[in-house]
C-alpha cells in the first residue's frame, strides 16, 4: 500500500489537479483585476471559505474510506452463495439507495440527538455526536451505491476465469482474492471515481444540520454581502465555493484515474 505513495503515475494526475487549481486562481484574480467583480469581496470571504474547505476535506476523508470499505463488503456479500448475506445486502442497498441523502442526514442526526437527550455527557460531545452521525449517514448512503458498483465489477469477471482457477485447485476464497477481485477492481475503478465525486459534493448537504463546512461558510459569507452589492457579492462567493468543490473533486477523480493507469492491463481496460 505504501508503495502506492511513491508512484509517479498517480502523482502526475494529482499534479494535473493542482495545475487546474492554480489556473483557476489566476483566472479569478485576472477577472477581479479586470473589474468583472470586486476583488475585495473575494478577498474578504476567502479565509472563512478556506476554513470551510478544510472541514469539507476532513468530512470527505471520513466518508470515502467508510463508504468504500462498507460498500466493498456489501457488494461482495451480494455475490456470495450465502442467501442470508445476499438478502441482508439487498435490503441495505434497497433502503439506502431509495433515501434522499438530505433526509438521511437529518434523520440520523435527529435520532442521535433524541437518544442522547438528558444524558450525562458534556453538551459539546452530544452536539458533536449528533453532527458526526450526519456524516455517517452520508457514508452509509454512498456505501449502497458503491456496493452496486463492486457487485457489478465482480459479476463482470467472466465465468471462464473462475473455471480456470478451480481447475488448478485454488480454493474459492483464494480465487476471489487472486483472480476475481483484481479484475473486478480494475473494471469498477471508473465507476467508483464517479461515485466518489458525487459523494464529495453531497457533503454540501451537511450544512442543513449545522455543519460549517464549505457551503455552510458560503451561506454565511453571502449573508454578509448586504454591506456590498448583494447580487454581485453572493455570485462571487458562490463562484469561489464552486471552484473549491471543483478542486476537491478534481484532485480525487484525478487520483483515481492515476490508480487506473497504474494498474492498466491490456485486455482489461475500460473503454473511455
Amino acid at each position: 500500500m505504501l508503495k502506492l505513495l511513491f508512484q509517479w503515475k498517480i502523482w502526475s494526475h494529482v499534479l494535473y489537479g493542482i495545475d487546474a487549481t492554480l489556473g483557476g486562481i489566476v483566472l479569478l484574480l485576472a477577472l477581479g483585476y479586470l473589474k468583472v467583480y470586486r476583488l475585495t469581496y473575494a478577498v474578504d470571504a476567502l479565509p472563512d471559505l478556506i476554513q470551510g474547505f478544510e472541514l469539507s476535506l476532513e468530512v470527505v476523508a471520513v466518508i470515502l474510506p467508510i463508504g468504500f470499505g462498507l460498500g466493498f463488503l456489501i457488494g461482495w456479500a451480494r455475490t456470495t452463495r450465502f442467501v442470508i448475506l445476499r438478502g441482508l445486502g439487498s435490503v441495505y442497498v434497497d433502503f439506502f439507495r431509495s433515501m434522499p441523502p438530505l433526509a438521511l442526514i437529518v434523520f440520523f442526526s435527529l435520532i442521535g440527538a433524541l437518544e442522547l437527550r438528558g444524558s450525562t455527557l458534556n453538551p459539546y460531545t452530544t452536539r458533536n455526536i449528533a453532527l458526526w452521525l450526519g456524516v455517517v449517514a452520508l457514508a452509509l448512503h454512498t456505501a449502497a451505491y458503491q456496493a452496486e458498483i463492486v457487485r457489478a465489477g465482480i459479476l463482470s469477471v467472466p465465468a471462464g476465469q473462475t473455471d480456470a482457477a478451480d481447475a488448478l485447485g485454488l480454493s474459492r476464497l483464494r480465487t476471489m482474492f487472486v483472480v476475481t477481485l483484481p479484475q473486478a477492481f480494475r473494471l469498477s475503478l471508473p465507476a467508483l471515481g464517479n461515485e466518489f465525486s458525487s459523494s464529495i459534493k453531497d457533503t454540501s448537504l451537511l450544512n442543513a444540520i449545522g455543519w460549517m463546512e464549505l457551503s455552510g461558510w458560503s451561506l454565511q459569507e453571502v449573508s454578509y454581502t448586504y454591506k456590498y452589492h448583494y447580487l454581485y457579492g453572493s455570485l462571487v462567493i458562490w463562484f469561489m465555493a464552486a471552484f473549491l468543490y471543483f478542486v476537491l473533486t478534481y484532485i480525487v477523480t484525478r487520483t483515481v484515474r492515476g490508480i487506473e493507469d497504474l494498474y492498466k492491463v491490456p485486455g482489461l481496460e475500460v473503454a473511455r
Binding site: G160, Q161, D163, A164, A165, A167, L168, L170, V265, L268
Partner: protein
C-alpha cells in the same frame, strides 16, 4: 490399473439428462480422443473427471482412488488433473509467466524463485520463452492456448483434460497447438481430448471414443472407429465429418 476410470456416471441439469451412465478408461500414458456431436455431453464428462461438475451418480477413480468420495476435497483432485479449455481462460490481469506461476504459488505454496523457474521451463517447452512478460490480450489464440497448456503442465499433473482446445482457433494456430499436444502425447502424458480434429485423433490418439446423447456408443483404435465403425450412429457421424 488405469489412470482415470469412470464408472456409471450420470449427471442431470434440471430436467436435462446430460450423462446417462458413462464408463470410460484412460490408461497411463494413453491419449484418448472423445468425439461426437455437439451437445452430447462430452465437455460435461471431462468436467466430471476433475470434479468441476459433481456427478449425480457413479464413480470416478484416479489411480484407483475413488475421487467421487465426498470425503475427498475437490481442490486436491483438481491439483492432480490439468485442464485446458476451449476459450483458453488465461487470467487476463496477469502476464504469461504469472499465469503459469499462480497455482504454483497459491496452491503448491512454492516460493517465487522456484515457481518462476518452473514457469519459465514450461513456457520454453511450449515455445513461448520470449513472451514471459506479455499479457494474454497481446497474444494470438494459438499462443494463448499454448500458455494454457504450460499452465496445466506446471502443476505436474497425472493427466490433462483438453476440452475442445482448438475449436476457437484459426487454422494456423490449430496447427501449432496440435503440434504441442502431439509432442506431449509422445512424451507419455496421459491425455483425454475432446476434439473435432479428426486428423489429430487419427494420428495421435491411442484410442477414440465415440460419444452421443450422454453415452459412450463405441470405442476402439482410431482406424476401427473412423473406417470400420460398427454402430450406425458412429457411421452416420463419421460420414458427415470425413469427406
Amino acid at each position: 490399473m488405469s489412470a482415470i476410470r469412470v464408472r456409471g456416471v450420470r449427471k442431470s441439469f434440471g430436467d436435462l439428462e446430460v450423462l446417462r451412465g458413462v464408463d470410460l478408461d484412460v490408461n497411463p500414458g494413453e491419449v484418448v480422443c472423445i468425439v461426437g456431436p455437439s451437445g452430447s455431453g462430452k465437455s460435461t464428462l471431462l468436467r466430471c473427471i476433475n470434479l468441476l461438475v459433481i456427478p449425480d451418480e457413479g464413480e470416478v477413480y484416479l489411480d484407483d482412488l475413488a475421487i467421487t468420495d465426498p470425503r475427498i476435497r475437490p481442490e486436491w483432485v483438481r491439483q492432480q488433473i490439468g485442464m485446458v479449455f476451449q476459450q483458453f481462460n488465461l487470467f487476463t490481469h496477469l502476464t504469461v509467466q504469472r499465469n503459469v506461476m499462480l497455482a504454483l504459488r497459491h496452491v503448491k505454496k512454492m516460493n517465487r524463485a522456484k515457481a518462476a523457474k518452473i514457469a519459465i521451463g514450461q513456457l520454453t517447452r511450449v515455445g513461448l520463452a520470449d513472451k514471459l512478460n506479455a499479457y494474454p490480450a497481446q497474444l494470438s489464440g494459438g499462443q494463448q492456448q499454448r500458455v494454457a497448456i504450460a499452465r496445466a503442465l506446471a502443476m505436474d499433473p497425472k493427466a490433462i483434460l483438453f476440452d475442445e482446445p482448438t475449436s476457437a482457433l484459426d487454422p494456423e494456430s490449430i496447427h501449432e497447438v496440435l503440434a504441442v499436444m502431439s509432442r506431449l502425447g509422445q512424451e507419455g502424458m496421459t491425455m483425454a481430448v475432446v476434439t473435432h480434429e479428426m486428423g489429430f485423433a487419427k494420428e495421435v490418439a491411442d484410442r477414440v471414443v465415440f460419444f452421443d446423447a450422454g453415452r459412450v456408443i463405441e470405442e476402439g483404435e482410431p482406424d476401427e472407429i473412423f473406417e470400420r465403425a460398427g454402430h450406425e450412429r458412429t457411421q452416420a457421424f463419421m460420414k458427415k465429418i470425413l469427406r
